[in-house]
Symmetry: D2
Subunit: 375 residues, 4 copies
């Protein structure tokens, strides 16, 4: 059952619920000597935070991280690093409306079926609030990637409802483009195609007014990742990345490279062609339908993943459901919810991708970089 | 690096290459007392075997399993169970054409980049031949599922190129429908929509004649699985199932339930509605867009997954590529290859899904079924 | 490298240093519905606490636990349970004397050799302070054992220097005997042989006055543990218990049953004889030289382990050593240290033994208790 | 339950029984490019083999290893390496005498209690025959150690009954001394103190003639191991080494350095003193009571472990016991058994120690050897 741990060599373990004292992550396997500060953690936490723009939930949570261990005089020590993010809003509230009623699309019923009862306050452990500490751990993973191989992970929204972004070159998108529009204003929907971004915002605004929600898709791209990461046969990089993204709430599908587009293709059209790379020992391809992974191992090209994210299940309009005794009733989830999960999904997805790649980077180094190169 | 192990409580570890002595799996965590025979293993191995029909590779491999341990007097003992499948064709051959040339779409380059050199004979460890022993392990997983909770896992082909099957009720498809057509002849493409199956076979035949290959998609359905399997937060059942399918060669995408279809939906249309189930303690839903999993935990409804499988990379026609020194050249892969991977993919995918669910079943039992029910 | 996690199915992960903000443990795999309170955690924390008697260190730490997650309305929820124990004394102090000097018998040098630098304040991660949260996790493990199989874990001191206790029947010792003398006063040395206890206290007092320290041994006994726990071949119960005890600071040796006494014995004298047990399906033995484990699997008899604990390395008298540059110097460790580690070692050792047995209990249940008993 | 896997980064998984088809090990995490041959594996297998001298069991087993995967053209490929050792003697035999009777000191009863039944032929999975493949894996671990850091693991017998060897400098003992006496004849008891060896042989011969057996102790020494291996806090090197040795059959106690000798020592006498080492960055100690590990992390000094091994439980003389129904009976184990386990124990113990250290070596490299040394 221990399902609260992710990773083999760079490993995170989390705990915490939506309305308990807080969420905590223990990160094990952090290389020593990495400079890290709470301010750096805060950057991505702010990208994930409620209330950051008009198109996300207006709940207020500051999400201030406290580093409990593993950092001394500003640098990681190599021992386990713990980060605590306290929940601000723990006051007693009336949860009578969800204590005995199963919210459609939520894990209320499956938690009851599994454990016999549940912490019903705001979803308890099934709340997306537990992703706060994943995001904090992701910041550390990104720093390790950057300092070891110059790797970088950037995500952005490619689809909201039927509005699709046009991103001709995923490997070229920068964090700046994701966060800030060309006019210097915040890119609140995190779509670098600004024309599409405008229509996405409009659509989100419409569904919000209609007390509804809308699904979408995100693309996450890792560049600068050396060829050779990923383990045959079960811990293929594609397999661990897929698990990482599917471990996030609301993800119903994951693909990489050409993805589901491969189903209608012929081999002659699908195969990327190898060509000489920028140095004699590096081979590359003239297209990237393989999404940066061949045989589950990184090829050196940009790793490109896409995730399908369902529309928010919580709706302020009435929905039919049953009580835990099976009695028909209706529910409208008060609180303030995201009309579209995608803008806040981006930092969560980046974090999980970065954590997975760092894990594989350290695994790769462990096995294949021998001290005595002659052997 | 140990990437050759899958599962936490029901755990398989594999070894073996395409042209070495053979492939072996060690299965750990098998409950004692399960009756098992090599004949039962052979059934699914025959469904995976080359040469089983005109639309798959015509290579000959009998794939005879030998149980090395863990079974005594026809029953599992509870100790680790090993199965060996020897390779028949180990004779020395001329691999000069692939030793120093990178086959497009294959792992030749990424293995070289990772390890510095590779067993180039037939793909070595990256060959799909390693899935033989996964299929054997899957037979044992299926038996455990059947004997403990009455669970069942069935897969079938839903798409080949642009031919789509129409499967209105995934949970109703039987193994018999997948294997045998209504007229009693073998369902060689493993698509239960017989009209679509005819067109799929025709398409596969066409691409084969054109020395090309074609992609497609498969659906894998698990029924009879109790509500409550899957662990928050990382080992969600959806996450482990996705990893399981992505660990198979050629899989570029995985989705469950409505999958990528959710991206254009509104919450009101997407949420399944809870209704009373067949007994007072069971709740169900009147639709299954959630694919049998909510919050990553099984809901009791059929678990429905889909995988996108790329067109076979090996083609008998010439393809441009480079040598390992980056010199342009061409390659045509002699051997005999599947023009479409889907028909033989089905037993592999069923095996991985069954193995994953048994693992979670045993994990669930461990934590939540206490001896003293009062507590 | 992730070495901060212990256990397979009942799993603890810890973080924290001696003088950082605090120590935290995440416990994964806790069965749902177990009643638990901070008051219960406090009981064993108080048994471990500094300043509890005149023969232990006189440092002051209240060691107040905060449950961060995994408990709702007084009962475990089944999701990951986190406990935080803040360090009280974090004020800036002059560590100049140990920053650049290697304390004899401590991990200062090996941490520097491993990580390149270290948190030198009070030993950082190598301080025994990290065992606070292990003790808290142990309380939960003890409760699970008690509620599932009626199992119990009790430890006591059997040796201090050359003073040996006489414990004819380890399985009969109670927590009460360990904590309280027959006259109702606290058993401050935790040795149930009161005559020996008096001499132990006298010896500890002597070495303390001489600014020295003294080693000793502890016995930990688990009773009520059903036969069948432990996994062939690597995760033998004896192997995991030994690892558990060796993971504690200062432990230089572990044995079970007759232990090192077996080296001079003949088989005829060593083998315990099987005899009928208290019910037709239970077999027992007429002696317990096997310490409750045969083939690494529990036999139903009391599990009896012993650990050798070295004399405290920190001494207030001057000891010769070197600086990190290899320059000869001397050091006297100011602070207040235990002249003998054994009295406070008992709750730590009990915790690790209980955690290990619960892990194996849940593993056993997972594999061998099938729903359908007929198979 | 999966208890048949050992190691985190260098990981072995085994299967096999005493009288089944054979035993198999899968080794995962092997660095690529290591030269290895079956002849090298055979060397240690011959040191473990029955019938090698007059003082061990006279059973005949050739123990010929077959490498199934992971080696190509004489070098490891980096993918999982499997080794199969078939059992020669599989003929049907009359096991009536042990099928329903519990042999004293064996795992017959505990296996029945755990699994409900057992493979009773020669002990099945609880037979020491499973250590064949551990020894084979140990050869590969020793090669990796030798090629990466120049490390070496050597074991020898220090005690048989009350005969103690005098080994003043454990770190200086060579494999040659263990295997060959100064006169060139085989050192059949594997004790480098030849005078003690003579008396050990005499004692073993005496107990054999008396249809009895005798216990003893072994010392295993690893030299050339760099400082810094081992992970705080649970995966201390001492903890994993202890688990490794306790996972071997018949081991009742493990200690390192001064071991249980610490219990009567004072801190002033126990602490080793740091002194400058052979280079400016290396610190050493002027004694090695700490057995090469401080805080569970290697110090660079020889790692010195001792294991207590019980007298063989199988005796050819009659012993009282019960049937599985609890009926009193007697048993004399026919077969041919070792009168003392120690001589054949040495290669098993060396293998487990080497495997553990390689695992930690690769873990250490993964975390602490960053490409960019500046950070």
């Amino acid at each position: 059952m221990p399902g609260n741990t992710f990773g083999h060599t760079f490993r995170i373990t989390t705990a915490g619920e939506s309305h308990g004292p807080g969420n905590v992550v223990i990160i094990d396997g952090v290389p020593p000597g990495i400079e890290i500060s709470v301010e750096e953690l805060q950057v991505d936490l702010d990208r994930r935070r409620p209330g950051q723009s008009k198109i996300v939930t207006q709940r207020k949570e500051a999400d201030i991280p406290e580093i409990l261990s593993g950092v001394f005089e500003g640098r990681t020590t190599g021992t386990s690093l713990a980060i605590l993010i306290r929940n601000e809003d723990q006051r007693s509230r009336d949860y009578g409306n969800i204590k005995d009623i199963y919210r459609p699309g939520h894990a209320d019923y499956t938690f009851d079926a599994k454990y016999g009862f549940r912490d019903y306050r705001g979803g308890g452990r099934s709340s997306a609030r537990e992703t706060t500490v994943r995001v904090a751990a992701g910041v550390i993973a990104k720093k390790i990637l950057q300092q070891t191989c110059g790797g970088r992970v950037v995500g952005y929204v490619t689809q909201v409802g039927d509005v699709h972004a046009n991103i001709p070159d995923p490997g070229s998108i920068t964090l700046e483009q994701v966060e800030t529009r060309s006019d210097g204003t915040p890119n609140i929907v995190r779509c670098p195609d600004e024309e599409a971004a405008d229509r996405m915002i409009e659509l989100i605004d419409t569904v919000r007014k209609e007390q509804d929600s809308i699904g979408g898709a995100a693309e996450i791209v890792a560049t600068g990742i050396p060829a050779g990461l990923g383990e045959p046969v079960f811990d293929k990089l594609k397999a661990d990345l897929a698990k990482a993204l599917f471990s996030l709430p609301a993800v119903l599908g994951v693909e990489y490279g050409i993805g589901f587009g491969c189903t209608t293709m012929r081999g002659t059209a699908h195969n990327d062609h190898f060509i000489p790379g920028q140095s004699p020992t590096i081979i590359t391809t003239d297209s990237n339908r393989h999404g940066g992974m061949l045989g589950g191992i990184s090829s050196g090209l940009p790793i490109v993943l896409r995730a399908a994210v369902k529309p928010t299940s919580s709706l302020s309009q009435e929905q039919p459901t049953v009580t835990k005794d099976g009695e028909p009733t209706t529910i409208s989830t008060k609180g303030r919810h995201d009309p579209c999960l995608l803008p806040r999904f981006i930092p969560m997805a980046e974090a999980m991708v970065a954590i997975t790649i760092v894990d594989h980077y350290l695994r790769w180094k462990s096995q294949t970089v021998l001290d005595n190169k002659e052997i």
